[in-house]
Subunit: 134 residues, 2 copies
């Protein structure tokens, strides 16, 4: 698996954990050693692993937790760090996101997420369309 | 100057170039070798140096180009890459931003910017308040 594929896989793990409301998977994905930050849409900045994971626990355990899909993810490598830019689809509205990962041993771990509204729309291939099980 | 200070300085160069409508400074700040991406507020993703710099030229050369100020910038280092999370103030409205920099030789060069709306407000120290010359 190339580095680009490995980063895109980590990005998929992030959205899969969100969709599945799998806090253990989400917790495992975020780095336990590097500085961690998060900018949820509309929120102020959240700094620190404990604080960021509390927000994720709150979001994915909420009964109205939004159903999310990721589209057109593109990874960019900067040595041992990588960014992914992608669209997010929530209730037929679109956002754009920046996700940052760092390589730890052989795994890419998440250290930052920002998501915010966009007037643009992704090109959605049939296999990317949210299915009934998503 | 510590790495953190050098990254925060590069972040200041970004906002100073924006405020001064200094395209040459903006062009010099963005990496000429690493992959470059940008998520302007409300826009779709912009990929590639040429395309990203065209957007900056368009934005800072526009007669109604917004007056911007940066508040509460915090840098996080990941080896040869760094992120800065900060508030942006435009016309008394606030946004939150992610700026990513990579070290090239002894300078930190910008490779990514995302900015989006927030309901939160920064604590603004007197010296950070936009002055009449900003």
């Amino acid at each position: 698996m190339s580095d680009t594929d490995a980063v895109l896989f980590a990005n998929e793990v992030f959205y899969r954990a969100f969709v599945d409301r799998d806090f253990a998977a989400m917790d495992d994905l975020w780095s336990k050693t590097a500085p961690v930050t998060c900018l949820h849409p509309g929120w102020g900045p959240v700094f620190g692993r404990k604080q960021v994971m509390q927000t994720w626990k709150s979001i994915i355990s909420h009964p109205d937790s939004p159903r999310i899909a990721c589209h057109m993810a593109q990874a960019h490598l900067y040595g041992e760090t990588a960014s992914v830019v992608c669209f997010e689809e929530i209730d037929k509205r679109f956002l754009v996101a920046t996700n940052i990962f760092v390589r730890e041993d052989r795994l890419w771990k998440m250290v930052h997420h920002q998501s915010g509204p966009t007037a643009a729309q992704p090109e959605i291939s049939p296999e990317e369309a949210p299915g009934p099980l998503n």
